[in-house]
Symmetry: C2
Subunit: 440 residues, 2 copies
């Protein structure tokens, strides 16, 4: 069986680019047997053409001149893997204008400029495939767009940043503090030298924007998403939470209610220890999705890394080459911003349970003061944890957990609590998320 | 936006058929918005045209005359949902000959006659789509065939029968014996009145045959699969296993080694309590897959039921209508039986760890007798559990766990143990499966 040859050009020869080149070069026979397509790596573009890489390209393939890719009419697919937003956007637009379909893993770019790029693709009669942009090798985008296509998706709860999950897992299991856990993640290659995009929650928000766009069928903008990172998480709160039955995870949450209002947020979340997502440890990702027909489905795997991400990129290349991506991309209709904006639930209106930790002076009357403020804001308490302290005059942690309350009420109460003389440091507030689980 | 109309004929108006009809009738607008396709239910065939159903069809749609579907050239897709093998095979062949693509949830039929049906489809230039045949609403077939297409899949471990998992979960968590747990499963609708196909492991084997065919690219026959059901599982063994750190699951296992030899088996399996599959409780399914690039991925959800299965059927209808199924079906190349047979590892040659329970007379010398037989068969023991018994003359359970050993050696040892006068009943033997898990 001699397959149809599909010529591929790669822009960006970093870690993922090397993984993609490796898969195409080493597995061409295997892929041809399975798909009837002969993938051919025809051009690799990178500004750095000299550094050694873990994969050996055929001579003459690597160049810093993107013109040699753009002008080569025989190359059908351009794979953009340089990351970032400005140069990458320009490259994707030029690839589309040159009549090439685009495959990308660039979540930041799609989260920020996806709608513009999708429009450009439609205008050029091309498609953009982006399975690798979310959750690495887990075929989550294809699942939402094809396997679950008959479902009205009402909610998703994802652990979509392996760096944060690795850090929080180690803080939980080994009692490390944040800086220790971050250093270990960096040493193991699970965190970048500059980890801010991961730990501040932005990376998770990029993925949430992409996933909820296609799941809910809305043009989602990054500013629709409330974002809180894990930088200020203390091991004390992780320990107190664990005592109360919770593990801390950075969750990306998208919920759609019956009026089609959408709540989108990324924040540290205490979730029940025995829930499926609580057990996702280390650098792994998992996404729990609720569909109207299918109920709950969970997808689990490696959300990053050279070969898992390359697996998704090459799957997209094949899907594009077979023509399947074009068909589904043609129907990527997202309700425009003008219709969406009014449906976004502001964080102040979000209802959640809360974990609140106060450092208070161990003296008579403190509980009464706290109770009064909580009652004045009509917040209902579900639990209190106070260990015996060192005695009068010392500072002790008091943890309060609440029943579901609107964020704005809790924010007001926190402000009043912070103003109390007996509250010695800024109150800590972490949301408790009762991640739904399908039972029998 | 007015979409392309796709006419669908349904054969089989039972539980799943009603779910499919409901989704098509009620969600046509939603599906059209997402896919550009207007699904139209044009004909429903069932021998029973009178019983009330939970979905109301437009007048005149339901008939017992399949000729009215076969002869209607405007109907592009025939959905076979009658189950069973003989009549269903005939119907699928007639649908294909009438120029219709086929969508089916019929795992028994595909496991037994899939190769013949695929061949008939190829000859008629049609395709067969069968996402709903395995693991209900979990899009596992699409994941293997598209999302993971660039991976050499080396192993899969699945909980693919919700009935068995529900029974074993209840035996574990509530200490029920098998018949109690089965009765409860029947009462809750998780087991059929005649549950034999589920509990004897055959249903799991059907799914394993389909999943490993497409994952490994081989024509797999049912006789390649070693099958053991859960009918003889006792709550005592579940309790002893739990004491030793294991939960009992009915696993469907497909493993491919570096020489492309394949081991296929369905049997009760003790797996470590803290493994991901051990935590899959109740009627849920989960499948853990290992791919050369992606590493471990796990898919979890409802493996059966009206709407989850209908979700997969309708996803397939859409995939067929968009033309995507045809493309991938064209390349469904499975190595023929002549090349496959010699690669199937016989159960006697399979290496596993084992849990062996003996009911022995509580008298001096018994341990020496057991130890001698075990040593003669060169079986290495990893653990022994014997609780204090009622005293000399009584019967006590002795549990032995082994390191990895070839099945044939263990079979021989069991035979000798069974012949001992001091062993009072047939030895119980359950495999311990060290399900691999990707760690950091």
């Amino acid at each position: 069986m001699s397959g149809k040859t599909v010529k591929v050009g790669l822009v960006g020869f970093g870690t993922i680019g090397c993984g993609v080149a490796k898969l195409i070069l080493e597995e061409a026979d295997f892929i041809e047997a399975r798909t009837g397509l002969r993938l051919e790596l025809s051009r690799v573009i990178d500004t750095d053409t000299r550094s050694p890489r873990p994969v050996k390209l055929p001579d003459g393939l690597l160049t810093d001149d993107i013109g040699r890719l753009l002008s080569d009419q025989s190359i059908q697919i351009g794979v953009e893997l340089i990351g970032g937003t400005d140069a990458a956007k320009d490259i994707q637009l030029r690839l589309l204008q040159a009549g090439k379909d685009v495959v990308t893993a660039n979540k930041a770019l799609l989260a920020k400029h996806g709608n513009e790029l999708y429009e450009a693709a439609h205008q050029n009669g091309r498609c953009i495939a982006f399975e690798a942009s979310c959750a690495g090798g887990i075929p989550i985008i294809s699942a939402i767009r094809t396997g679950l296509v008959a479902n009205n998706i009402t909610a998703m709860y994802g652990i979509v940043n392996g760096t944060c999950n690795y850090i929080l897992s180690n803080m939980t299991s080994q009692g490390q503090d944040f800086s220790e856990a971050l250093a270990q993640a960096q040493q193991k290659g699970y965190a970048e030298t500059n980890p801010s995009l991961d730990i501040n929650g932005e990376d998770s928000a990029h993925k949430l924007a992409i996933l909820t766009s296609i799941a809910f069928g809305y043009q989602i903008a990054l500013e629709d998403i409330y974002i809180e990172g894990i930088e200020r998480v203390s091991k004390d709160d992780i320990r107190f939470g664990a005592e109360m039955g919770y593990y801390l995870k950075l969750l990306a949450i998208g919920e759609k209610d019956e009026q089609n209002r959408v709540s989108l947020r990324v924040h540290p979340s205490f979730i029940a220890k025995d829930s499926a997502l609580a057990r996702v440890a280390g650098p792994f990702n998992a996404i729990s999705i609720f569909g109207s027909a299918v109920g709950q489905v969970i997808f689990y795997g490696r959300g990053a890394g050279m070969m898992p991400t390359a697996s998704a990129v090459v799957a997209d290349i094949i899907d594009v080459a077979l023509g399947n991506s074009a068909t589904s991309f043609k129907h990527l209709y997202l309700k425009p911003r003008s219709e969406v904006e009014s449906r976004i639930v502001k964080i102040d209106d979000c209802v959640s349970r809360f974990y609140i930790r106060l450092m208070v002076k161990d003296q008579p009357g403190v509980f009464a003061q706290i109770g009064k403020i909580v009652a004045e804001n009509a917040i209902s308490i579900s639990g209190v944890l106070q260990h015996e302290g060192a005695g009068p005059g010392n500072t002790v942690p008091v943890v309060i957990t609440t029943h579901p309350n609107k964020q704005c009420k809790v924010t007001a109460a926190l402000k009043s609590l912070d103003e109390l003389d007996t509250v010695c440091s800024k109150p800590v507030c972490i949301r408790i998320v009762d991640v739904p689980e399908d039972k029998e």
